[in-house]
Amino acid sequence: MTHLSVLLAAQARFPAPEFESYTLPEMSLEELASDSVLWRVLVLCVFLVVGSLCFYKWRSRKAMLAYSLAGLAVFGFIFASCPCPVGMFQNIAEGVAAGSYIQPGVLLLFAIPLAVSLFAGRVFCGGACPLGAIQELLHWKSVFVPRPLDRILRLIPVLLLLVFTVCAIFGIGFPLCYLEPYLPVFLLDFATPFAILSAVFLLVGLFISRPFCRYVCPYGVLLRFFSMFSLLKPQITSHECVNCRLCEQGCPNGAVLPPENAETAVQHRTGSRRISLLVACIPFALFAGGLFGYFSAPVLSSFHRDVRLQNELDAGIRSEAVEAFESTKTTHEELRARVVKLQNGVLLASTAAGVLFGALVMAELIAEARRRREEEVYSIDASLCFCCGRCYAACPLERKEKHHEK
């Protein structure tokens, strides 16, 4: 009966009566009070400036904690998380693909953290991102992820970024919004099935620092890339490093790199042999990635509304969607043509994304095998640093200086 009611929509079965002493009330639909997104952009700018000052000028762990706390309160609870910069790459991808509606506020929220990361690294992750802030504050004891495992897990966000971009471009959906594990906390609504996901992430986060930022967040991939070219580099101490190793042990995110001594000739030879082997493997990796993308395309497109509808029509299921479709003027041929076009598009994009992923995996492997620039002191990898300030607190020279200042 549902489709029938749509057909009969808005009919004047009962003409409006002519009243003697009664005026029609106004419809009370409130407009948006102010452009809240632009407000948020402004607050975000203030946060990023303050955060950069806390991290690069005052160099204090306590200030960074206060920054995270403020970020959690303002962006997590007052602005209630949605829409968040983390998921906004999907809006941008969809908007660009459809050639329409990218709200200036949305674009700004997406672009500002990236632009700032070119100058001050990932201060956004440090606390202005509510997801980062809650993980920063609810971290108890650090369990270190072994470096090879960390490297492998760090590829997950890259894959997610590619897959989610394909999904957004073809209107399949914004899957990241379902993976975002802290939303029930921000909305204080624990009666949803998503609360299980938040519990899991919060529990893991107690021991492994920032599990979402490091192994899920696709926006973090972009920030990681951009912050490689950051103007300001975090520096553990301005004094002469005594190589005490405390900062490396203090960093739960694996961003502190130990000093690399000059290699022996044998090590150098095995290293270069490994690199040439990896370079030889590149075509195979690209092919494997493409194959992976090609075969996952039907899975991706099956989540699209039209494809699901087509499947239901083919299987003869009388769902609400089928009834709603039959009440519209779209013919079955039009729907089928749309579905075929979509499936072809997804197939092409998914294969391309697979090839790209293969290339990125190889780039990561080669970067790992490559000899780093020789450094004699402990240094920070800016692309992995979440600007938490733990290394400042761990460094004995920094502590001594702070003590003298007082």
């Binding site: 009611s5 009969l8 009962f14 409006a16 009243f19 009664y22 419809m27 949605c82 939303l183 609400e320």
Partner: protein, 181 residues
């Protein structure tokens, strides 16, 4: 200028480039976009009530008085299987008693939605469409909606009734019915 500086400038330009295009496009597409329900596509499946990320859905019923028939026996107000035409709970369509009925003049009654109570289930909308003028319909309230990156109701909507609207026209009204003369 080092290579690193060059890359930084290039990336910054890439980030800032879309803004130039954006302001040119501003007039064509309106100043923004928000989720809204197209009342003509809506099939009142009830998912608006349950799928919204907010504990109490941002979707509420609105009443377009201009197309209301002010019926004595309103099919949005009374259940199909009512026992009597009175305000006892078993006779009412609205599960939360959010429709306020006031007497205007014989035999006409005004129906008003109590927004504090409305949960956006769309039962009254269905009733109104089935036998009445369709003056009741569901809309996403701008003052409540978070405008998520992806609306969960839009994803679950079987009729694809969720559309994006520009900020200066955030509501979709039903066309007032043609009055038979």
């Amino acid at each position: 200028m080092t290579r690193r500086d060059l890359i930084r400038t290039g990336l910054l330009a890439v980030i800032l480039a879309p803004f130039a295009a954006l302001f040119r496009k501003r007039e064509e597409t309106g100043t923004g976009y928000f989720w809204q329900i197209d009342p003509d596509k809506c099939v009142q499946c009830g998912k608006c009530e349950t799928e919204c990320i907010l504990p109490l859905s941002a979707v509420k019923c609105v009443h377009q008085y201009a197309s209301c028939g002010y019926c004595l026996f309103c099919s949005g107000y009374y259940q199909d299987k009512r026992i009597e035409f009175n305000t006892a709970g078993e006779n009412m369509r609205c599960p939360t008693d959010a429709i306020i009925r006031t007497y205007v003049e014989d035999p006409y009654f005004e129906y008003k939605i109590d927004e504090e109570k409305c949960i956006g289930c769309g039962k009254c909308v269905k009733g109104c469409l089935a036998f009445g003028n369709g003056s009741l319909f569901l809309q996403v309230r701008r003052d409540l909606c978070k405008n998520c990156n992806e609306c969960r109701i839009a994803k679950a909507c079987p009729a694809d009734a969720f559309v994006r609207v520009p900020a200066d026209r955030p509501y979709i009204y039903r066309k007032p019915p043609e009055v038979k003369s």
